[in-house]
């Protein structure tokens, strides 16, 4: 066999293999089935650890709002007809005597008829004026029942409510018959984070621990502060941490001084005075500006 035929054979074989490789090796882009995206809420640690006490499934506040307009209407509408009608009567009453006074002098002289006629239209007015409470009341009273007939089953409770319609709705910052959103076991203070931070900042700014405190390591001094509603101290700060030694004493005294100097604490809102009337605050020498929890007693 000649080498030429072998070469031809080999070339043909290579062409075949290459053709096969070109057809089969054509790369396909990786297909990735897109995973369904899950909505993720980023919750900070505080959202978990400082849960407010409440019920998990709070009905939406809408039912509270819908009865309100009914109450408002009931309270406002009845006085309206009385107010509108009364001045009308008063005006007419004033006008009627004036007309009588003006028209009476001329009739006896020239015209008896016009003198008679004016009293006719005046009569009902005069009658109305004399028994003030009775006759004019009839037209205004039927009015409110005319507006009510549209019967709304959702408002049965409001319609059956026999309480004073003018009473104020039970909504407000402090007293609330509606349950608040929260967990059954939550016990965190409802002081807002900004208030806590502001208080912490203020106290740490004023606190100047003695120079040797850094060497003493981690010393924590917990102080119970009792506030009055205006943010001043109700009583001298009470040191809860017990200890001894010159460094501890110096630190304790400096912490008490800081609390005393800092008043009044205007960053605390009087609306939620119940939450901050007594606060245990921990001064920590090792973590001057770190996150120290403020606990409500």
């Amino acid at each position: 066999m000649q080498i030429k035929t072998a070469s031809a054979l080999s070339t043909g074989l290579h062409v075949l293999v290459l053709a096969w490789a070109t057809l089969s090796f054509s790369s396909k882009p990786f297909e990735t089935t897109p995973a369904e995206s899950l909505p993720v809420d980023v919750i900070s640690e505080k959202d978990f650890s400082q849960l407010t006490k409440g019920v998990k499934d709070v009905p939406k506040p809408k039912p509270v709002e819908t009865p309100k307009p009914i109450v408002e209407k009931k309270a406002e509408e009845p006085p309206k007809p009385i107010d509108e009608i009364k001045p009308l009567i008063d005006e007419k009453k004033e006008v009627a005597p004036a007309k009588e006074a003006k028209q009476e002098p001329p009739p006896p002289v020239e015209k008896p008829k016009p003198a008679e006629k004016p009293p006719e239209p005046v009569k009902p007015l005069a009658e109305a004026a004399q028994p003030q409470p009775l006759p004019p009341k009839k037209p205004p009273i039927p009015k409110p029942p005319q507006k009510q007939p549209e019967f709304n089953p959702d408002k049965i409770a409001a319609l059956l409510d026999k309480r004073d319609p003018t009473r104020r709705a039970v909504t407000g910052a402090e007293v609330n018959s509606q349950p608040a959103l929260g967990t059954a076991s939550g016990a965190a203070a409802q002081l807002s984070q900004s208030e806590i931070d502001a208080l912490k900042n203020r106290l740490y700014q004023l606190w100047s621990p003695p120079a040797g405190a850094q060497d003493a390591g981690k010393v924590q001094i917990e102080i119970r502060i009792k506030f009055k509603r205006d943010g001043t101290l109700a009583s001298p700060p009470q040191v809860l941490t017990s200890g001894s030694g010159p460094i501890f004493n110096a630190m304790r005294d400096s912490a008490v001084r800081a609390v005393m100097v800092g008043q009044p604490y205007t960053m605390l809102r009087p609306e939620n005075y119940e939450k901050w009337q007594e606060i245990d605050f921990a001064f920590d020498s090792s973590r001057m500006y770190s996150d120290i929890p403020v606990r409500r007693q």
Binding site: I3, A6, S7, S10, H14, A21
Partner: protein, 238 residues
């Protein structure tokens, strides 16, 4: 190399089309040259392999046939006459060479010189064996060379291709996989071709070297036996 050229030459590859042809076509010319060379080597290796396989199997068969004919008791003169025109395999060539030398010593000159005839026949047969082995071993060195150098040549192409792809990263100022991957794929393609050429070359070289060794020993054996026969003849006549 101009970075703009690099970017231009490499960026088209960022498309997802990575077939073998585009891999080759977008490569740097050095890599192209390496790939082409390796491809030619592969073709040549397989050509040699096919040629040698056919040649060795034929040679083995004809040697078998010759040996049966040789030991069948047939007259050596007749055998020589039938083969002398064209010895088509190594053993026949060996036989013809030895017989020719024998005949020349007996028939050519009137005074028969037996002195040194044995040595001459041995010499002729050694030369013929060497020539036949050289024929059998021809082109086997190509296989050995491709087998040992192919991977290195492919590696050179790979290194060059990766250098180019790094240049393209620098040019496009982007390290995303879409920019890097085509260059590396193209570079690895060179190594792949180098291995494709070298692996069969090494395997065939080892196989053929063993085959040549076997046939050479067979020839040596035949030469010794034939030399013994001729030596007996010389002693009988002399």
């Amino acid at each position: 190399m101009n970075p703009a050229d690099v970017a231009q030459s490499v960026l088209p590859l960022t498309s997802s089309d990575l077939s073998l042809f585009t891999l080759f076509w977008h490569a740097h010319w050095v890599v192209k040259f390496v790939m082409t060379g390796l491809m030619v080597c592969s073709v040549w290796v397989w050509a040699i392999a096919i040629d040698k396989i056919v040649m060795y199997s034929r040679s083995n068969k004809s040697m078998d046939r010759f040996e049966t004919a040789f030991w069948s008791g047939q007259s050596l003169e007749e055998l020589y006459r039938s083969l002398s025109s064209k010895p088509n395999h190594s053993m026949a060539a060996l036989f013809v060479a030895a017989m020719r030398e024998w005949k020349r010593s007996f028939e050519g000159s009137p005074q028969k010189s037996f002195a040194g005839l044995q040595m001459r026949i041995d010499k002729v047969m050694q030369v013929t064996i060497a020539r036949e082995i050289e024929r059998l071993e021809r082109r086997l060195l190509v296989l050995a060379t491709v087998g040992s150098a192919g991977p290195f040549v492919g590696l050179f192409g790979t290194v060059w291709g990766i250098m180019t792809s790094f240049q393209s990263i620098a040019a496009s100022k982007n390290t995303s996989l879409a920019v890097v991957a085509p260059g590396i794929a193209e570079a690895l393609f060179a190594t792949a071709i180098g291995l494709v050429a070298a692996i069969p070359a090494t395997i065939f070289y080892n196989k053929f070297a063993g085959e040549v060794n076997k046939q050479a020993q067979r020839l040596e054996g035949f030469a010794d036996e034939f030399s013994a026969i001729l030596s007996r003849q010389i002693d009988e006549r002399g």
